[in-house]
């Protein structure tokens, strides 16, 4: 996992860097004394993990994460316990380390990061979503005790059918015992949106929109009145 460290204290950056160096799982690609410099870097680069201090000049760690459009996994490193509850309100916050960070505690962070990076199984209980910056995001579905990997970009649409959902992909069709709500939590918002009580579509697969329906491949999917404004907002209209 590639990571960056953002902390105004050189001592703190040095400790986190050393802890990362002592493990094979993390590679520090950059370090920044403030969040503004890090933002500039992230405009042109992606990382898997950010170790982030909270109290910093110019831009606090909390302000910083609110500016990120597609945040990677974030681990707070701070001397302040006051923000712990607030931090966990964000699904991409994996851990909250109180300084000085011990090697033993850091091992737990690595385990949490590894868990957070694993592909998500439909129906599996997880406390975090797949980060959208993963290079090859997958969804595993359970069909007759076999786990089948679906690439997000191959999914066209998902339809709710009673206790089941039907997933239509570019070249196949799957029926899974799950709910639309459950699968929606596993899907990246940048690709998918719910346009009807019974339908989630891959937004990038729309061929055209007419009246109150969208055409995806050969399927005509209804758009509910309440979801129509959301859909229209996301269209790049000329």
């Amino acid at each position: 996992m590639n990571c960056i460290i953002i902390d105004d204290e050189l001592t703190a950056r040095t400790i986190v860097s050393e802890l990362c160096e002592n493990t094979s799982e993390l590679k520090v690609v950059e370090q920044f004394p403030n969040a503004v410099e890090a933002l500039k870097y992230l405009n042109h680069n992606t990382v898997d993990v950010i170790f982030l201090d909270i109290h910093m000049p110019f831009l606090t760690g909390i302000d910083f994460i609110q500016t990120l459009k597609s945040p990677p996994r974030i681990v707070f490193t701070t001397s302040d316990t006051d923000f712990a509850i607030e931090a966990y309100a964000y699904e991409f916050i994996v851990d909250y380390l109180v300084k000085p960070i011990t090697a033993q505690r850091f091992q737990k962070t690595i385990s949490k990061l590894k868990n957070a990076m694993q592909p998500v199984l439909v129906g599996q209980t997880v406390d975090t979503k797949i980060p959208e910056l993963l290079q090859d995001p997958d969804l595993y579905i359970n069909i007759d005790r076999r786990l089948i990997k679906l690439k997000f970009q191959d999914i066209l649409l998902i339809e709710a059918k009673g206790d089941y959902i039907e997933i239509k992909t570019v070249d196949s069709f799957y029926r899974v015992h799950s709910t639309l709500k459950k699968i929606k939590e596993k899907l990246p918002e940048s690709l998918f949106m719910q346009i009807h009580r019974s339908f989630i579509i891959n937004f990038t697969k729309i061929i055209d929109i007419q009246d109150n329906s969208v055409l995806i491949e050969r399927s005509v999917i209804p758009i509910s009145r309440s979801n129509r404004p959301n859909l229209m907002q996301r269209l790049n209209l000329l």
């Binding site: 050189l10 001592t11 040095t14 050393e18 109290h55 001397s79 000085p100």
Partner: protein, 107 residues
């Protein structure tokens, strides 16, 4: 308060890497005097909120050097300064002196 700084934490992080130990101590030796100076200047200027921010940074170093009582004192002092109360400044100054002496000793 009687507690003495130690290098236990630094040695734990270094895991026998002497080069890292030296590098890390050099950083503390550089950063700490600057932070102490900044803290005192803010106190003189009655910029107590700014002083609190520096105490927050120094607090981490007290933890690194195993000064548990000093760390707890720093938490209280930081909170006090945020609300305009500097009554713990003398006690905190004693802790800073202990750190300063230790840094000179290991230099």
């Amino acid at each position: 308060m009687g507690e003495e700084p130690n290098l236990n934490y630094i040695k734990e992080i270094a895991g026998g890497n002497e080069e890292f130990e030296k590098k890390f101590l050099a950083i503390i030796q550089t950063e700490f005097p600057k932070e102490k100076e900044e803290y005192l200047k803010n106190l003189d200027d009655k910029e107590l909120e700014e002083s609190a921010k520096v105490v927050h940074k120094i607090k981490h170093k007290l933890g690194i050097l195993g000064l548990n009582d000093g760390y707890k004192l720093a938490i209280k002092h930081e909170e006090g300064l945020k609300y305009g109360d500097a009554k713990l400044k003398d006690d905190f100054m004693d802790v800073l002196k202990v750190v300063e002496e230790f840094i000179l000793k290991i230099a």
